[in-house]
Amino acid sequence: MGKHVLMLSFLAIGVAGCACRNPENTPLLTWLDDVVRPETTLEKSALCPVFVPVGTACVVLDVCVLHPIHAVMLGARDTWQIVWAGAKGSFVEQSLLFVPRIVASAPVFALCWFGETAFDIRGDKAESKP
């Protein structure tokens, strides 16, 4: 049991690490990085006992709470684009597709939410901009 928990937690850290790489996905940590800027080695050493636990808590909050909540919106947007947006065809065709679309929405949303939560999907898009 203990081994399984350890493996799962490592997996979770690894997977969450992908999203963590993008500063946009860790808003609390990014904000603190902007605010706390010690210059000298003495300042850095003195602040270390405070910011090691604070930083760790921020990462946990970002990864487990803030980013998953933000990912709900992103997942919903992705689901709308994949399932609902860009509908083509006549009124009858759209009516026929209405029920399958409703059925597909939940699993597609779950997949999109997981993808946005675990992986740095938007980061890749941002980097591809000229």
């Binding site: 850290i13 500063p23 940590l29 990014t30 603190l32 990085d33 902007d34 706390v36 800027r37 010690p38 850095k44 602040l47 270390c48 910011f51 090691v52 604070v54 930083g55 760790t56 921020c58 990462v59």
Partner: protein, 426 residues
């Protein structure tokens, strides 16, 4: 347990085992050098002592010396994987402190065991240590030190001092050709000014393996995509500087008549014309060849350069017209045009020379002032100019053939491939 051992043994035997590289057997190397006599008889006599001693040295190397020597390299590996700064900020670094610290022992153990078992290249020594190793009096020691270096393994602040150490070693042992070749092939990127000057001097000698390696090393700094080079802290200006340096070296080789080295440089440039640096160099070399009337000894490489440039960039068309590239004359269009002109002139038709010259001049004038943003027009005019130039050249050739000996005409109006073959151009 047995399965694990089997898999480990298989892995060791299938890949490069650390023991197989001489670099990882210092004590055994020492025994080989100092205990093994030269003559066969002495070898046979001392074998009962030397063989067990060599075996013991091998065991000590494998179990003690090589693992001890791998400790710091494994730490550098772990440091590169885990402790590389994220560049985000102080709090992020603090937050990563605990995960990094907890992951360091297993990551280090993994790297350490892989370095002990397999022949993983070591991290480069500090420039000061490198200098000490490369200046060793013993040839084998120097060679071991230089062959252990992975090319381009020195970065940022270490590039200058490491380059200095390598140049010092080359100057100290100029007659050790194998050593100098190995060192020159590993001089860090980007080349420092001093290294560039030194390599250019070696290249200008125009002879020997060291010259060839020096030309190749100069070429390496030209032949990368600017974006890739930028990722390594090298600017586009650096590539331009490297191209200019090699172009100057090429001119010097031409002046001094070192044809083999000259052709080698042209071949290098022609081999990578898809990259901006070598392409610029290929244009430079082709212009030089054109100005010198396409020397025979460089015919193959000059033809290759022209064809590659023509297929790679439209800019080559401008040069092709301006410098009358020979590749144009070998195009089928030109051969067809000559045949048409011969038939017309034979049947008493008028010469098109004057009319074509007028059109050529007119198009060249238009090409000189296309106006900003007229890319399509510029391309169209270049195509036209190449067309008129080809026709004009064909017209002149037809007149020459009709005025000249009958045999030449027969040769020309025969199979074009046969013509090229008879001219010695298979």
């Amino acid at each position: 347990m047995r399965r694990v051992l089997l898999v480990a043994a298989l892995a060791v035997s299938c890949s490069s085992c650390a023991f197989m590289n001489r670099r990882n057997r210092p004590l055994m190397n020492f025994c080989e050098k100092h205990l093994v006599p030269d003559s066969v008889a002495a070898k046979a006599l001392t074998a009962p002592v030397v063989l067990p001693a060599g075996l013991a040295a091998g065991v000590i190397d494998t179990l003690v010396l090589h693992p001890v020597a791998s400790i710091d390299d494994a730490w550098f590996d772990s440091s590169a994987v885990l402790w590389h700064p994220t560049g985000r900020g102080y709090v992020t670094e603090c937050a990563l402190l605990l995960p990094r610290a907890s992951l360091t022992p297993p990551v280090w153990a993994l790297h350490f065991s892989s370095r002990v078992l397999f022949d993983v290249p070591p991290w480069p020594p500090s420039p000061a240590r490198l200098e000490q190793q490369l200046l060793a009096e013993d040839h084998d020691t120097r060679m071991l030190a230089v062959t252990a270096l992975e090319p381009w393994s020195y970065k940022e602040g270490d590039v200058g001092p490491a380059t200095g150490a390598m140049l010092k070693a080359c100057r100290a042992y100029p007659k050790d050709v194998a050593f100098c070749e190995a060192v020159i092939g590993r001089i860090p990127r980007p080349l420092t000014d001093e290294a560039g000057r030194y390599l250019a001097t070696l290249a200008r000698t125009g002879q020997g393996e060291v010259c060839a390696v020096a030309i190749w090393r100069l070429f390496v700094d030209c032949s990368h995509w600017p974006s890739w080079a930028a990722g390594r802290g090298e600017s586009a200006e650096h590539i331009q500087k490297a191209v200019d340096r090699l172009a100057e070296t090429y001119d010097s080789l031409v002046e001094s008549g070192h044809r083999a080295a000259e052709v080698y440089t042209a071949e290098l440039a022609g081999s990578k014309t898809h990259l901006p640096g070598p392409r610029a160099l290929a244009f430079y070399i082709t212009r030089s060849l054109a100005r010198r009337g396409w020397p025979d000894y460089a015919e193959a490489s000059s033809f290759r350069l022209q064809m590659r440039l023509l297929s790679m960039t439209e800019a080559a068309r401008i040069d092709a017209v301006k410098y009358e590239w020979r590749a144009l004359q070998l195009k089928w269009d030109w051969l067809d045009a000559v045949e048409v002109a011969i038939k017309r002139l034979k049947n008493g038709g008028p010469s098109m020379k004057l009319a074509l010259e007028e059109k050529q001049t007119e198009t060249a004038e238009k090409l000189g002032r296309p106006g900003p943003g007229r890319a399509a027009r510029l391309y169209e005019l270049t195509e036209q100019l190449v067309y008129y130039k080809t026709l004009l050249d064909a017209e002149e050739t037809a007149e020459r053939l009709l005025d000249g000996p009958e045999a030449d005409l027969r040769l020309f109006t025969g199979d074009p491939l046969e013509l090229l073959k008879r001219k010695g151009k298979p």
